[in-house]
Symmetry: C2
Subunit: 579 residues, 2 copies
């Protein structure tokens, strides 16, 4: 939906005012749209684009050096009037003639044609190049009936860059026409869009479906189908575009293409990149050479969720203009640096974190290491089985990824522990390796704290002695102290400290009682279990990244629960070995 507006009728005017205010050094508002602040040279050809509003950056956002000289900006989804177009054109004109460039829509054709007639009647030479890149809108034989969507960008850019290079009116038209002949786009939509002040979406797509070929005003496309995943969508768009290669291209292999992956509004940049990953693979797989792709919002439809893929089949001349610098509010291209001379030289610079040389542990410590490895494996097993429950607990107040993070960390920890165990590591080295791997692979706060706990314990246990109750208690106490210091959490903050502290205290008391590690751990594990359950009653400290902090009352902290689970499963393993 549209969240921010004042009077809906004033939306476009206020938008243009804000747009001009934000780009004061580049854009000048005129009645009917905007022009560049820095006017073209006298006698130069100027390129005037335009269309309805609601498609930002189309059209005002594309005015600036190397692109358009002016944009007529109509009302929401409505063509600018011939009067507006004339005004913008006259403001941009420096006497060298004007090229109108716009997408093929009935209202735009009507109004741009009228404007063209009026200006011609004033003795100004005005030409028009209409963009028709949407392959869903008509079959190849009727290309002239197709709509203009994201393919407008390369056509506008070719025209604007050629005009700024001082080309003649004939040449600018020829180049823009050639660009249009070589550009193809296909889009899909997952949702409609809701215009400012409207209570209902202007159009809609059923949940879980996608409309293939739907236009940027919701024009019906080819068909609806079940929504594909990112890779599937990339493949579908690629396949269909490869069935509509411009006739001038003899063999796609070796062809050079500009690619545009466009978000129609609500699809996030991260999602575009996930799709682009597959697009890149597919284009390269077919032997195409991708030239400076654009992955961005290029032509939108308010908050519509959807994407389109454009292929711009280059020749030398068009590649030159595609790569030419541009500086507009929404599209900037610096002088493109060539590919890196020696990218491998870079990667070679990356020094992996120095692998610790595995110190061979004493026989006793190797024995302990074997038990610890088994304990880690056992912990991995219990966390695997509890992963979804931990995610559920985490989702109450957080982002629900605690179970996945624990699993990722433990898997890496076990893997590292197995490796150093095979190299005869003692308990200390094994725990340190496991802790480092856990932190490295799990990331986040929890990963870092688990890394700290295992490493602290490892440093105290060392690689020589068979750890007794006192050593273990000291190790856990050290872990607690490190976790509190680094994690800045105190008891009562509803974190794993609320389990670790009573667990450490229980082990400490066990030392005084002179009992075995197995028994001490078992008793302390019971304490830990209860402590984890008690975190139900706590409220997370304000300011932490827990959106629904208050909702978590009544639910134990997932970090506390998973620590208690690990402690419990470790206790089982110790008991088995000491029995």
């Amino acid at each position: 939906m549209t969240y921010l507006f004042n009077q809906p009728e004033a939306f476009v005017n206020e938008m243009i005012q804000g747009f001009a205010a934000a780009h004061r050094n580049h854009i000048l508002p005129v009645d009917g749209g905007v022009i560049r602040c820095h006017k073209a040279k006298p006698g130069q050809v100027v390129v005037v684009i335009g269309g309805g509003s609601g498609h930002y950056p189309a059209f005002g956002g594309l005015v600036g050096q190397g692109l358009a000289h002016g944009a007529a900006m109509g009302n929401v989804f409505a063509s600018p009037s011939a009067h507006q177009i004339c005004n913008v054109a006259l403001a941009a004109n420096t006497g060298g003639g004007i090229v109108f460039c716009y997408g093929n829509y009935a209202g735009d054709v009507l109004n741009f044609n009228q404007a063209q007639e009026r200006l011609q009647a004033q003795g100004i030479d005005v030409r028009a190049v209409v963009v028709t890149d949407d392959i869903a809108a008509a079959p190849p034989a009727e290309r002239h009936l197709r709509r203009g969507i994201a393919g407008t960008l390369p056509v506008f850019k070719a025209a604007g860059a050629a005009a700024d290079a001082g080309e003649s009116l004939d040449e600018v038209c020829r180049i823009a026409t050639e660009a249009n002949a070589r550009v193809r786009t296909l889009g899909v939509a997952f949702s409609g869009c809701t215009l400012p002040g409207a209570r209902q979406p202007l159009f809609d797509v059923s949940h879980g479906k996608m409309a293939v070929g739907m236009g940027i005003h919701g024009e019906p496309g080819l068909h609806q189908m079940d929504a594909l995943d990112a890779d599937g969508l990339a493949e579908m768009l690629f396949d269909k575009l490869m069935q509509d290669i411009p006739p001038v291209i003899d063999h796609p292999e070796g062809a050079r293409v500009g690619a545009i992956l466009n978000s129609l509004g609500s699809v996030a940049q991260e999602e575009l990149y996930v799709v682009y990953r597959r697009v890149d693979q597919l284009l390269r797989g077919r032997g195409l050479v991708i030239v400076e792709p654009v992955v961005d919002r290029v032509i939108t439809s308010f908050d519509m969720a959807g994407v389109s893929l454009t292929l711009f089949w280059l020749n030398d001349e068009l590649e030159h203009y595609w790569l030419a610098p541009a500086d507009t509010p929404a599209f900037k291209r610096s002088i493109v640096s060539g590919p890196l001379d020696d990218p491998a030289g870079h990667t070679a610079l990356i020094q992996p974190i120095a692998r610790q040389h595995v110190t061979t542990g004493s026989r006793d410590s190797q024995k302990a290491a074997a038990v610890i490895l088994e304990a880690l494996e056992s912990a991995m097993y219990i966390i695997d089985t509890q992963r979804e429950e931990l995610g559920r607990l985490d989702a109450v107040a957080g982002d629900g990824d605690h179970g996945i993070g624990m699993q990722r960390g433990l898997t890496a920890a076990v893997d590292a522990a197995r490796k150093v165990r095979a190299a005869q590591a003692g308990a200390g080295t094994l725990l340190t390796a496991a802790g480092d791997a856990w932190a490295a692979c799990a990331g986040g706060t929890s990963g870092a704290l688990w890394g700290v706990m295992l490493c602290s314990l490892g440093h105290v246990l060392g690689d020589t002695v068979m750890p007794d109750t006192a050593t273990v208690a000291t190790g856990v106490a050290t872990a607690l102290s490190e976790v509190k210091q680094r994690g800045k959490a105190q008891p009562g903050d509803k974190t794993l400290v609320d389990v670790l502290q009573p667990f450490a205290a229980a082990l400490d008391q066990a030392v005084a009682r002179g009992i075995s590690v197995a028994v001490a751990w078992k008793d302390a594990a019971d304490v830990a279990h209860d402590a984890a359950q008690k975190t139900r009653d706590l409220l997370p400290r304000i300011g932490r990244a827990r959106p629904h902090a208050e909702k978590s009352i009544g639910t134990p902290d997932p970090g506390a629960v998973s620590l208690a689970l690990v402690i419990g499963s470790v206790g089982e393993v110790i008991r088995r070995h000491c029995a």
Copy 2:
């Protein structure tokens, strides 16, 4: 929601791969994040940023010349691990020391601190500047506890630009620290966000409400309140930021500020500009000088709907770095051109469409003009009363703005007609003036076609004769022919042609029958009324911008209905005058 992904667990890795593929000439992926392709000079300070993913362009999108040298990219909303950070830092390092720069979140602090210790242990000088710009996160006295949000951009930029300028490690840290001391942000959220693969939003905001100060992971902020309109929101954010001016600023009047209006995801660029319009007014109203504002997505939270406003209180040094060129995938700043020498010189170039000299009409034609003006006023009245119904009809298959467009066009037409009528225009001049004004102010297809109809009729009626039935019939026939030619619509396409054609035919028959204009018009108006109703049974031609074309069966075309309404009301006026 998130629409496009494959396996949710693979989302971040695939995103980074696609990101790197899209920016091959600028970005190099390394284990843990990305670095610049073009490495810093040997011995130069490098700036390494980072944080969880899901905030694009933060953080990978901000790597490039004039900004960061590398970014550690963690999992979704999770800090990168110390291992990842070390990897990125080592890959970017050229021996001149490293500045870590990141937002103040527990997980990031923990992992960046660990990475710092590890690198220092390897003899690398590493410093850290933690960004704390979110005024909602803690009171001014506890600034160090505040979170880092959109204010990260100016701090990163100050650090990166200073490093690229060859400043020492001490200097880069001092400059970044000073930047952080001078940046303040406040945000609001209207909705939560849904992570890839999740069925529920991670957090949410009640419909019609906004959460003031909510963090980019949904951290609770100050309070919830009824959502404000665009101006109200700008005022609220401005007021609160002006209550938290950095202590170093003595008087806000005359101060120079960089401003950032950031969309957290789903708020469209058009909406940002509507809000920015008011921000600009407010800042200028308080005597502040805005320096190159940024109105864009700067730090997001997937598809969260929300915005934040940042004020960056500049001194000379920071202004220099704020304006310095930058070239990253998501943030590019060209060498900023000064304000235009003579902006007025531009506006002066705009030649308004030459006002037609008003030809005085004959006495007969002036009489006819009086009737036509009254007819237009009557049409305006009927359209005013039917505006909502026309909007409702239009919303069935289109964007629901037909009533508003008709109202806008008729108001302008009546206004223009009154002016030329006062200057003794004849019927032809009056109709032409009304048609031009209608088309200019209403825009879109409908505005253009109404302009064509009135102008065609005007040309035939001329400024000398009292129009008889034959003249009127010829005028309407001309209008029909022009509309068909320019609008490219045929009878049966469910447009106003489906009314205009039978109306013209009925007038034509009336000529043969030799009846008066009043009677002829009345009969033809009945035909037009019926024809408008019959458009219920038609299907709009495929390819037009009618999203729900098929749904419109059973509903008459709004353009046909409004034409019939105008014809009807004009008939009443003619009859009154001829009776």
